[in-house]
Symmetry: D2
Subunit: 398 residues, 4 copies
Amino acid sequence: MTISFGHSPEVLEIVRRTISFVEDVALPVEEFYAGSAHHLPEEMRLEIQSEAKVAGIFAPHVGVEYGGLGLGMCDRAPVFEAAGYSLFGPLALNCAAPDEGNMHLLEQVASDQQKEEFLGPLASGTSRSCFAMTEPAPGAGSDPTALLTRAERGDDGWVINGHKWFITGAHDADFAIVMARTSGEPGSRGGATMFLVPTDTVGFVHRRDIDTLDESMYGGHSELIFDNLEVPDNAVLGEVDKGFDYAQVRLGPARMTHCMRWLGTARRAADLAADRAATRKAFGGRLGDLGMIQHLIADNEIDIEAARALTLKACWDLDNGLPSAQSTSIAKTFVAEAVNRVVDRSLQICGALGVSGDIALSRLYREVRPFRIYDGPSETHRWAIARRVIRTIDKARQ
Amino acid sequence: MTISFGHSPEVLEIVRRTISFVEDVALPVEEFYAGSAHHLPEEMRLEIQSEAKVAGIFAPHVGVEYGGLGLGMCDRAPVFEAAGYSLFGPLALNCAAPDEGNMHLLEQVASDQQKEEFLGPLASGTSRSCFAMTEPAPGAGSDPTALLTRAERGDDGWVINGHKWFITGAHDADFAIVMARTSGEPGSRGGATMFLVPTDTVGFVHRRDIDTLDESMYGGHSELIFDNLEVPDNAVLGEVDKGFDYAQVRLGPARMTHCMRWLGTARRAADLAADRAATRKAFGGRLGDLGMIQHLIADNEIDIEAARALTLKACWDLDNGLPSAQSTSIAKTFVAEAVNRVVDRSLQICGALGVSGDIALSRLYREVRPFRIYDGPSETHRWAIARRVIRTIDKARQ
Amino acid sequence: MTISFGHSPEVLEIVRRTISFVEDVALPVEEFYAGSAHHLPEEMRLEIQSEAKVAGIFAPHVGVEYGGLGLGMCDRAPVFEAAGYSLFGPLALNCAAPDEGNMHLLEQVASDQQKEEFLGPLASGTSRSCFAMTEPAPGAGSDPTALLTRAERGDDGWVINGHKWFITGAHDADFAIVMARTSGEPGSRGGATMFLVPTDTVGFVHRRDIDTLDESMYGGHSELIFDNLEVPDNAVLGEVDKGFDYAQVRLGPARMTHCMRWLGTARRAADLAADRAATRKAFGGRLGDLGMIQHLIADNEIDIEAARALTLKACWDLDNGLPSAQSTSIAKTFVAEAVNRVVDRSLQICGALGVSGDIALSRLYREVRPFRIYDGPSETHRWAIARRVIRTIDKARQ
Amino acid sequence: MTISFGHSPEVLEIVRRTISFVEDVALPVEEFYAGSAHHLPEEMRLEIQSEAKVAGIFAPHVGVEYGGLGLGMCDRAPVFEAAGYSLFGPLALNCAAPDEGNMHLLEQVASDQQKEEFLGPLASGTSRSCFAMTEPAPGAGSDPTALLTRAERGDDGWVINGHKWFITGAHDADFAIVMARTSGEPGSRGGATMFLVPTDTVGFVHRRDIDTLDESMYGGHSELIFDNLEVPDNAVLGEVDKGFDYAQVRLGPARMTHCMRWLGTARRAADLAADRAATRKAFGGRLGDLGMIQHLIADNEIDIEAARALTLKACWDLDNGLPSAQSTSIAKTFVAEAVNRVVDRSLQICGALGVSGDIALSRLYREVRPFRIYDGPSETHRWAIARRVIRTIDKARQ
């Protein structure tokens, strides 16, 4: 239990391989498709995943029994960061959202049969998934208790009706983990249940792909309608009415893996800008000789180092089974804002070039913005953080 | 000389008409083209300009002798802001960059013949122009003395060679105001000269349209090559070697009209967000009942009010012939950053909806970012602001 | 009704005289007492006020019938700012809080007899006053409806009981304007009444001078107890139960005069820092040649210019009888925060010297901090600003 | 080498004892002297140090051979933070600046004889020391190469002449570590040498105690004159001309121990504010129910968690002999600014109470401000951080 920021030689070797892979494979493909996974053909996804397998870096977070590298949270942090250096890196390693979080959830909660049917293909990249929780107003968003989608017991299983949106990866996904209310009323917590639903089930309607500021998530963000969607009993993931608890199981680690990946994006932006500052001549010297540019560069380094340290701290809590709601909320809030600051500063350093498509910064600028909203807006996290502080005081006073 | 923030009834009437026009004409067209002026057909430009003429709000900044409304800087401020409420409003009123700034420059500097040939058609919307000053590294950008494009006396006029980029509006423009070095060497100030050049002149090469984060400027941002571009003597705008001075003539007011227009964008973003906050239910109340959302709303109002006051102050200086380099630099820097903050907060208030294309915020988010770089990055302005402070002290000490 | 930021020659002449006076009289006295008005003897106050009278700048805000200069809000803005350049300037001009706000209130609301008895001596500097409104928790603070101090009709007037704190200027004041509840219960608004009470009345107990971060307000901040304080009927200021309305009459302009004075403090801090930057050698040049220092200097100028423009805008609203609750809230919030930023940056520029007592910055640093709390904390103002936005939307929807 | 944020049971036990000690001993004494170590009598210092010895927490950073607890950087972090919860805690544990840094330096560099004469008494609290490096303008400050104080070889040792200021702890210190130029000229780096000098040596003149914003450092900050100060050869600490290198030996760890102590101050401020928010009623609820207050509370937690994580990261580098210039610069810059933000927000949450002396916040507000300047202003650190980034790129390009 000594403090350590070091990583084992084994993990560092995976990091090195990931860095090479991103340089050689992921970045060129990203460049070709201008960072838009919406336009990436299925075959290209399979090809880069196949190359990641050859490189020995595929599915770093998945248990070895499912073909992964079996890395814990702290160990996967530098690997995911290295993958996130390209917008397409996590997809290639099969550790992108939402599949990565779904694999984690299935490993924790699914039955053996469900693991075989859903987790296996997902872990190997054969199938893709989505996590159907959020709903348009006035449904479940920052406030999950507003859940409107409802599952009712039918003759032979369950009948689900509801409306979902911003369901990442839903386009052409093979199955969805659907969150539906099974008890209580919207506004109260009540009980929710998770269901494993193949997307070709009758009543599972893909209404549209939502046009969004970001474009790098494979499968985009979709709007779905569940119109008398019938699913059998064994579609229930875990137990009935435990959906909100399972959502927590999924969300804590998912928050951190988001942080790791976007940290890689921030590092890339900062590198692009520093490189520009080191070479661009201006005002009789280099950009990087100017104090105001140095200020921006230094703040990038500070933000990245702090984001990384907070991420590791929260991962440490998760790996050690310690309470992690506060530390993951803190890390997610800080990292999301820090990543945005870093990309913004980097674009500013590069000036008109940064605005142009000649360098990746304007693309990264669009991609990172939603992270301050996805996985809980900063405001929701801050509310939760403060409430825990106040509750601790309340308890101490009792 | 009493202090006043009021506007005359005549100006307020123009503002009212502009507000109606934007609501009825500009916003629907903007929506149809998703805010991208790059895809707006020429006929559509002419149609909305024709409707603005009917509404009596066309060319508010242009002298009445050229068919404009003849408004000074302070008077045009609320009109341009109202126009800027839509990304297409300024285009419709023919007061968008770069034509608007070019008209100002031509009114100040051009010969009668040049006015007839270039200003008249430009003011009426018959022709379009661009201002060819900035160059790719290591040429003229934030540091204008780095100017590389060179004009040399030929047998019968001038021969211009150079490379320009980020020339706004250049695609299909009818003529360009070209800035070229006519004495001195790059790195020293030396002398520059402005030339009026029809874009169909031999040697005027449109190399490409640059892909940019923003898309709302008609004619986009282009890269140009001047390859032994021959122009006659009467192509010289004003006097030889006075180009840097004329650039100042153009830049001061152009800075402020940018501020006015983007202020309208900020107002729109804030309105969209406030409307959402007033209606969206969450956590048992409305979004707008939550303190953190109120914080964002209040900061939007503060930023807009301060941006508007600074803009008016600088316009007052310009209208009264007072020194305005400092006040326009201050206003430009603050407004560009305030506008970005407002749009960012507004998007955050709207959450996932803000990220989507279902509301204009994600579009506005992309459009306003470059304003912190165009017309002088904030860093360059801050450097100039500080230098003036120090120089004033130096002088007082002598 | 044309827009103007100019001031009349008469006002500018008063400004010039104030600048000289502050340089010659106020700053040396401030320096001698290290900025602490808590240790300034009564005779010294009378002496500098006497010199201000000689200089023709005494009581610029007071009507000429009471010996003042009769300046409106916009006109007094540059005069108060010039006075605020020294922490002792406003005291010398008799335009410091709380007397200045009390004079305004008395001019608006007091009876002729009350004006003769209280306003006359106050305007001439013969007497001093305080405004006894705020109470310790859980009484009236940011939330005025929490008012606990109660006045009840007695046989022959009123009997007041209550507990006040942070009553600025109360030490050795001659009279107080006391705010007490005359109907309703704490938590509801109900009705409050203002009373004019000589401080030597039986039952008016000065419990202590509160030790505070700031020390420049003459008479400090006191805690008062009203222990069966009996006052006659003619002690009522204006009408019974209208106290909350009168508080608004006082608060709008008082907010702005605070802004004007503290703006002078910010200007002084920025000047001290710029002077240091222009002369201090470091790293082979001057401090002011370093980009990061230039950044701080430029931001000071931006903050000051914006603060001044917002102050003038709100003053314009007040002078013209326009709705001003929003514009004064916006100005107060921005100015209070801007002034703090300016002083903080200025101290930073001066480094260890700034921390020391060898230059005024560490003193100014302490003095300006409470302005973000006094006269309504920024949070209360932001809440009010946002609520007005939402209410406007609600009304438009009805 | 697995990542860990955990501390050993032994360290946690020391932390627990320190928390109790601070609560029972340090805070009451701090309160009695209103946080001013300038007014703390010598006997009181010895008494609280004696109690810290009894508690088994004295000199946690010192080797066991000198009576300390022998904790490395990571292990001392939580102990110092716990001590820093009171402004007097570090003094009581004998781990306050500058003695703590001087002990570290002496342990690393001093000869056995010097250790016996100087380190022993210092470690036990019998003597006190100062570190005489910084000079008034235009001497050594942020730019150490400006060093003006000069030591020249005399007949029998060295003769030192110079002028120092902001020498912390110098008042009544027993000895000084004096930094003087022994080769080169001001502006170049040249060579500096450190000398161990008893303060009662002839020519060692204590000119004055500087009045400063902060008052919690025992012995204050002094101005010193070295007037033909003669010292023997064995006064040289380490080797001649290696002073700049030794300064680095001292500065890295000293930066981090500052961070640890001030982090305790931030934690205390945040606790005071959270406690207030949990209990103060306002607007029909508690302060802590208001979103804007929750925002402030949450940001305090985020800042503290990030500051702590960065501190541990840099300590990890130091403990493992890794390059630490970058990580300690990053940590120092972030922590200094974060601590200031936390105290500022906490004061704001407490409103008028926070401004008053009834709670420690206004005191802490003054104390933490200089930390953004002491030990290198943020600007100097940012410059160094950026320069390292650029140099790394330069090297990679060669």
